[in-house]
């Protein structure tokens, strides 16, 4: 399930990151880069919606295989439904309609929505549902230093991306290699 969800997480993250980059780094992008931008996003939306449909099917089949239908009536079941319907089914539908109707705005809404869903899923696995039978006092919750380190790693990632994107030929062909075929 992690492998499958990481596939549409990656596709969504590329769409989301591309949208942010176009907002702040558009002046660095050359014509060749911009030419394939929309088609790439439509292709990614089609792929993401298809993979999310498969992920949904696997979630349901996993529920059936373990015969855990009764859990759906509990608080944890409601939270599971909130995650699966709210952050997988609906973004999947948005991607599908966005691809079908060539609606880039809808795809741009679905991408951060899906990324949020992945973050929620990882928190559910690592925090909410981890040792869920224990009393809440014995459950794991990250310490302040762990939260700070996580924020530090994300910030370093963003800063490294920004440094590389603004100082290296990522969005454009380097002038020295303009005529090179690659």
């Amino acid at each position: 399930m992690f492998f499958l969800s990481s596939m549409f997480a990656g596709l969504s993250m590329v769409i989301f990151e591309g949208t942010l980059s176009h907002r702040s780094l558009h002046h660095l992008m050359d014509e060749e880069y911009n030419a394939g931008y929309e088609d790439l996003h439509f292709a990614f939306a089609k792929g993401a919606s298809w993979i999310m449909a498969g992920y949904l099917a696997m979630k349901l089949i996993g529920l059936a295989m373990d015969n855990h239908w009764s859990y759906l009536a509990t608080g944890y079941g409601a939270w599971w439904l909130f995650e699966v319907v709210g952050f997988v089914l609906l973004p999947c539908y948005c991607y599908a309609v966005g691809y079908r109707d060539r609606n880039l705005a809808l795809i741009r809404v679905a991408a951060p929505w899906t990324v949020l869903g992945i973050i929620l899923n990882r928190f559910d696995v690592g925090l909410v549902a981890f040792n869920w039978r224990l009393p809440s006092a014995d459950r794991y919750f990250p310490s302040f230093s762990e939260i700070v380190i996580s924020l530090f790693v994300v910030t370093v990632g963003v800063l490294a991306f920004r440094f590389i994107a603004t100082h290296m030929p990522i969005f454009y062909v380097h002038p020295h290699y303009k005529d090179a075929s690659h």
């Binding site: 298809w50 449909a53 349901l60 089949i61 599908a96």
Partner: protein, 44 residues
């Protein structure tokens, strides 16, 4: 109510196989929904 593990497995597998068939049929519908506005590729 399941009295034995065999009963439980029998029930779970039955439900799962029916769901797998339904899911596969739904996938075909979803594929048509996703692609029916695409321009058909000319094969000649």
């Amino acid at each position: 109510m399941f009295n034995t593990l065999q009963d439980l497995m029998w029930h779970s597998k039955n439900v799962t196989y029916v769901m797998m068939a339904v899911v596969l049929i739904c996938f075909v519908g979803f594929w048509y929904f996703l692609t029916d506005k695409e321009n058909p590729k000319r094969r000649y």
